[in-house]
Subunit: 371 residues, 2 copies
């Protein structure tokens, strides 16, 4: 298939595989899609190792990286950022999370230390260290998931011939991204997993396409099949940016308990909630959300305080859920879009990529038959 996106990046299928698991990124890329590593959960050293491994797997094929590089950095003591942010978390919030974990009888912290990685990437030095690692590898695209990219990022990308992409949920965001020099716009509808706005993909995509001019637009949100991919192309997108569909792939790093919950879920079983990151993000609705919605529960804190408050709790819940712990299985959740209702099996990421591309081509051919 040939679109402005496949031309720009030299890939056979206009399918982006956005995921935190290097295995998914490599498999999507090898299958003819374009893998993008969600890098914000890694330290610079880890990111370097992951990108090196991906490059060994993909044999010269292009791939990309997604970072959280904010325009404005978190307010705290720059010399002691994590500690000064931690000090801003109210005791009532800490007590609420402690009580919640106790109520569900979640075992103590696992061996793996908490990185406070989101806080780290919200400091200028932390974000720049991750950028240095990314630009030290032969990436073809860098995406920024938080607002417009800082000027330094765009200049560096242009110099190295790396395309800059950005997620947008409203027309005004798209205009700002274009002014900032972005090459690829990702129109992310409300049905998407993770941080989303309120406008649906069906409405948002053509709106962003009309603003983008010659720039390729990828549609994100609600796309996990070839039919949905064909719909995105009909809306004027040059490809699809998929996140949720890979969370049920064999290569995804999530535990089997979470994948089983995804397979059991329906398309009504998600919600937009600020209880993980401090900003509304779509995720699987579980007992976690019941607890935060209960009368008397504290209001979620802003980013980056909320992730600092709950990240260790989530490491404990994930580890316990993986071990089959009943309380943890009730709480267990992750960012996922409404397409979760269509998941019926854990499959290899390469198979998902190839089937989506083939079904899309079939569907386009069938549409021609209606005329």
């Amino acid at each position: 298939m040939r679109t402005a996106f496949t031309e720009l990046l030299g890939v056979p299928h206009p399918i982006v595989g956005f995921n935190r698991s290097p295995g998914v990124v490599a498999e999507v890329t090898k299958a003819g899609g374009f893998g993008v590593l969600a890098a914000s959960a890694y330290t610079p050293g880890e990111l370097d190792a992951q990108l090196t491994w991906i490059e060994q797997q993909v044999g010269g094929r292009p791939y990309g990286v997604d970072l959280l590089v904010p325009e404005k950095f978190a307010a705290g003591d720059p010399d002691n950022l994590v500690a000064s942010l931690r000090a801003q978390i109210p005791e009532a919030h800490l007590a609420f999370v402690r009580d919640l974990l106790a109520k569900y009888d979640i075992p103590e912290a696992p061996a793996k230390p908490v990185h406070d990685e989101i806080a780290a990437s919200l400091s200028r030095d932390g974000a720049m260290a991750l950028l240095d690692v990314a630009f030290g590898h032969r990436i073809s695209l860098i995406a920024n998931a938080l607002g417009t990219p800082p000027a330094g990022l765009v200049a560096r990308a242009k110099q190295q011939g790396v395309a800059v992409a950005a997620l947008v949920g409203q027309a005004k965001h798209a205009r700002r991204q274009i002014d900032a020099g972005v090459d690829v716009l990702i129109a992310q509808g409300t049905e998407a997993g993770g941080h989303t706005g309120t406008i649906a993909t069906m409405v948002l995509t053509p709106e962003i396409v009309d603003i983008a001019g010659e720039r390729p637009v990828l549609a994100a949100g609600g796309i996990a099949s070839g039919r949905q991919m064909a719909a995105a192309l009909a809306l004027g997108a040059a490809g699809v940016w998929c996140g949720s569909v890979w969370l049920c792939s064999e290569e995804d790093v999530a535990n089997q308990a979470l994948k089983s919950k995804f397979i059991a879920a329906g398309s009504s079983d998600t919600l937009r909630s600020p209880t993980r990151t401090g900003k509304p993000a779509r995720q699987l609705r579980t007992a976690w959300h019941e607890e935060w919605e209960r009368q008397g529960s504290p209001a979620p804190l802003p980013m980056p305080l909320q992730p600092m408050l709950v990240n260790e709790a989530w490491q404990r819940i994930d580890a316990a859920a993986q071990a089959g712990h009943e309380g943890a299985l009730r709480l267990e959740s992750f960012f996922i879009g409404q397409v979760v209702g269509s998941f019926d099996a854990v499959r290899p990421a390469a198979e998902i990529t190839r089937e989506m591309a083939a079904e899309c081509e079939r569907r386009i051919a069938e549409l021609g038959g209606l005329l």
Copy 2:
């Protein structure tokens, strides 16, 4: 274009024009679409006159009717339904609406009397009287917007060769409608105007298509252009059920002030709110919603009490807005989907129909070029 829907109803374009204005229904039908009159706002006598007029206009072409026929009827004294329901509205709610109208200096009631028409159609006798009128005309389709149709409606429709359609927002609703004998399913996404659920059209449509088997599925929500129509067909729909797009047509009965507000609005300017009907319905966000959301404002009542509480207020607001009254213009609103952001002019309904069909065909042909 040929789809299961155009074959079933014998129309050139798989585009439904759902609207309360007989002029829109007639013009969409004459342009090759399929007009459906939203009949629940009319008395039996008015409905009879409207359908007679439509039939005079369309010259034998097929058209349909949409009613609110609930499975369960409102709880009240059956001999004195409207009065017994009115008595259930708390005084605090009446005072809130009185104060709201006073605050915005909305003039007294216009000459036109309030019908309490929703309450009337929620009584068995009221609903049956409207059904009698509809079946007394040569309608080709009857749609029911509230739950599954009563058994009597389906039997009568089958006998007269009238297709029965139903709006669904979730897979389980679709299964219930199929069990009730419905012929056409309308998958209505959260981005639609009026009563909607939370699942987006991009996710809901293929899910309903897979349940529907041979029955045609129409996609609703987020569709106001040929690109969006092509996307709906890519998702497996046999056509599109459009409501919002006609609200900015010349033939729509809404006042020019409201149409101007629609043209000025962006796709973020809607919300799902129960403040008009008692159930979450997407509408243009205005000062009306600010007032209901204010701390201390009463919670909206259930259907049918909420529309009985606010219908007269809306008649006053609409009339004053039409006359250019400043306070009324701030409150003025109506049911509309997120596509409102794409409206840039008031156009004839026939032109909208023809352009949507032509753009859809063009887009499908262009998609073929990507392969």
